[in-house]
């Protein structure tokens, strides 16, 4: 059973193509990551699938209901937590959850009971009576997440749920998402953090310029960059040239040299053979090295390879904080 299907979605804002032939299939009970830089169309995709924005072209279903023609049915089955904490800042945390519970159709008593359960679960009981505009960023995000879980959603949309959060709050959000998935909820997660996609998502779609440019598990995406790498850290900077020449000869490819870290990296097909060959050649040449090993490519390298740009997360880890 598929939880989300999107076929050829196009969304134009004037001359801008926010989505340009966006396709996506998300299996029920999985966490699917949409990974891409700012402006790639991740948020527009979420807004379209959650009935907030109309698509210009294409078709999408969520839980089997058509997003365009059956929006009521879709809204009854989804939860949405946006980039900014969409809670009422002038009310207390508890008042917020009771309000949203009532609007999900819970009776007053049930809404209050559910609010207390969620406050407890998200470690907000102590702040329950305080106005939300006095909450920290992490507390708001947790409250926002709690609000999307008042009645357990079949599909939860998380639009950059941990952008701007400190590591502790980020881990709390991740834990909450994992426990929800354990109960059977499907999650569509957008993120510009490779680590987040790696940690949470079963499948990752890399989004660039309004469409999915690659899809697979983190491992599959990594192996699309070819195989493993042999990495040599030279002891002396003066040896770098010799080490690079040696790797070029043994591995048959042009290695990358990083002078700052005295690191030489070459892509290889068979990592065990390459490792022993390189070790033997280094000893025969009498080159002293600090370290020698093999590793998989990182998602950062995958991203750079697929989109031609590094992720924002490598350069501007704090940039989202300024938008509020």
């Amino acid at each position: 059973m598929t939880a989300i299907v999107a076929e050829g979605i196009r969304k134009r804002y004037g001359d801008t193509r926010a989505l340009d032939g966006f396709d996506l299939t998300v299996r029920e009970g999985t966490v699917h990551g949409l990974l891409g830089p700012n402006g790639a169309g991740k948020t527009t995709a979420v807004r379209t699938l959650t009935t907030l924005a109309r698509m210009t072209e294409g078709r999408a279903t969520v839980c089997g209901f058509d997003v365009a023609s059956q929006p009521d049915e879709v809204r009854a089955r989804i939860g949405l937590t946006g980039q900014y904490a969409a809670v009422d800042e002038f009310l207390s945390g508890r008042q917020n959850l009771v309000l949203f519970g009532r609007l999900f159709g819970l009776r007053p008593r049930a809404a209050r009971r559910r609010a207390d359960e969620l406050l407890e679960r998200f470690d907000l009981t102590g702040a329950a009576g305080r106005r939300v505009d006095g909450y920290s960023g992490g507390m708001r995000r947790r409250l926002d997440l709690a609000a999307s879980m008042i009645v357990v959603p079949r599909v939860l949309f998380l639009d950059e749920p941990t952008t701007g959060l400190d590591p502790r709050s980020r881990n709390q959000v991740w834990e909450a998402v994992r426990s929800l998935v354990a109960e059977g909820t499907t999650v569509l997660l957008t993120t510009q953090y490779l680590e987040e996609a790696d940690q949470l998502a079963d499948l990752i779609s890399v989004v660039d310029a309004g469409r999915v440019v690659a899809e697979g598990t983190a491992d599959q995406l990594k192996s699309r960059l070819g195989g493993d790498r042999v990495e040599v850290v030279a002891r002396e900077a003066a040896d770098l040239g010799a080490v690079a020449a040696l790797l070029r000869r043994v591995c048959g490819v042009e290695p990358e040299v990083d002078h700052e870290t005295r690191r030489v990296v070459a892509e290889v097909d068979d990592r065990v053979r390459a490792l022993t060959d390189v070790a033997g050649a280094l000893r025969a040449a009498g080159l002293a090295v600090e370290d020698l090993g093999t590793r998989r490519p990182t998602l950062d390298e995958v991203f750079l390879h697929l989109t031609g740009r590094p992720t924002d997360d490598a350069t501007h880890p704090e940039r989202e904080g300024a938008t509020a």
Binding site: L52, D88, L91, A110, R114, R131
Partner: protein, 283 residues
């Protein structure tokens, strides 16, 4: 279709599986949103003190400082003349609070959350309008007490006085829809005030609130008489039995009719505009 507005146990309804539709849901959700807006007000002492002290300040400044130099045509106490004007003016300025509150919801993504939920779409706007009505009632209570303390009173019985209050609240409803529309047009809470106050101030000056239109130069007086605010002010002066009933112009003679027609016309124009704007908000 059965339209159950509410369900009891989240434990049993673990999965969301039901769209909520129909008139009962709309009423229930509208009332929940009304309560939300009132709870916001109760949690914002700074807003309460600002919005409730401003009209009182107007009564004191205009009633005592400028009032000593003002003339009421046909004679009478200036403060008796002034109070119906302050009632209407307070309703007009309430538009600012309405617009700001809505723009806040839009800019902070609260509206997006509501729009992604299985709730009645009308509830956000209906709840705002109903809350504004309640708030108008609160403001009127404060102003009536304040008026009684400075020597204003009603002279034609409680029934007509309540009818006058009704007209003032009708004006508040019209202002609420204009405020909602402006709040949706300018989704930045800070700009709402800078748009509304330059709009509202000339409206109050060019009306019968402070000065009787027959004391103004001819064409200004005509504008002032046809000003929607003046209609409510003239009609409520009549119903309260306060001085300053004005000239024999058509507008002054039919103040009661205009005091109903103007707000109804404004709602008829701005409510559909606001609803359309709301539906297209995030496209």
């Amino acid at each position: 279709m059965s339209a159950h507005a509410t369900t009891d146990a989240p434990g049993e309804a673990r999965w969301r599986g039901r769209a909520r539709r129909g008139p009962r849901v709309a009423v229930s959700d509208g009332l929940v949103m009304t309560r939300r807006n009132m709870a916001q007000l109760a949690r914002s002492p700074e807003e309460i003190s600002l919005y409730f002290s401003l009209p009182i300040l107007f009564v004191l400044v205009f009633g005592y400082v400028f009032g000593s130099g003002m003339r009421v045509p046909g004679g009478g106490n200036y403060r008796e003349f002034l109070l119906p004007g302050v009632f209407a003016m307070t309703m007009l300025y309430g538009m600012g609070a309405t617009g700001t509150s809505l723009a806040f919801d839009v800019s902070r993504g609260v509206v997006d959350r509501f729009r992604s939920m299985p709730m009645a779409r009308s509830a956000l706007l209906v709840g705002r309008c109903l809350a504004d009505l309640l708030r108008g009632l609160l403001e009127m209570t404060v102003l009536v007490v304040c008026g009684l303390l400075v020597g204003w009173e009603w002279h034609r019985g409680v029934g007509l006085a309540l009818a006058a209050v009704g007209l003032v609240l009708l004006l508040r409803v019209a202002m609420s829809w204009i405020g909602i529309y402006i709040g949706l047009l300018l989704p930045n809470p800070d700009t709402v005030g800078t748009v509304i106050f330059p709009l509202a101030f000339p409206l109050t000056a060019l009306s019968s609130i402070f000065v009787a239109p027959e004391l103004m130069p001819g064409w200004l007086g005509t504008i002032a008489e046809w000003n929607p605010l003046s209609a409510t002010v003239a009609a409520t002066r009549e119903l309260f039995g306060n001085p300053g009933l004005g000239s024999d112009s058509w507008a002054a003679d039919h103040a009661l009719l205009l005091a109903v027609a103007w707000p109804v016309a404004m709602v008829a124009v701005f409510a559909p505009l606001a609803i359309r704007r709301f539906q297209r908000l995030t496209d």
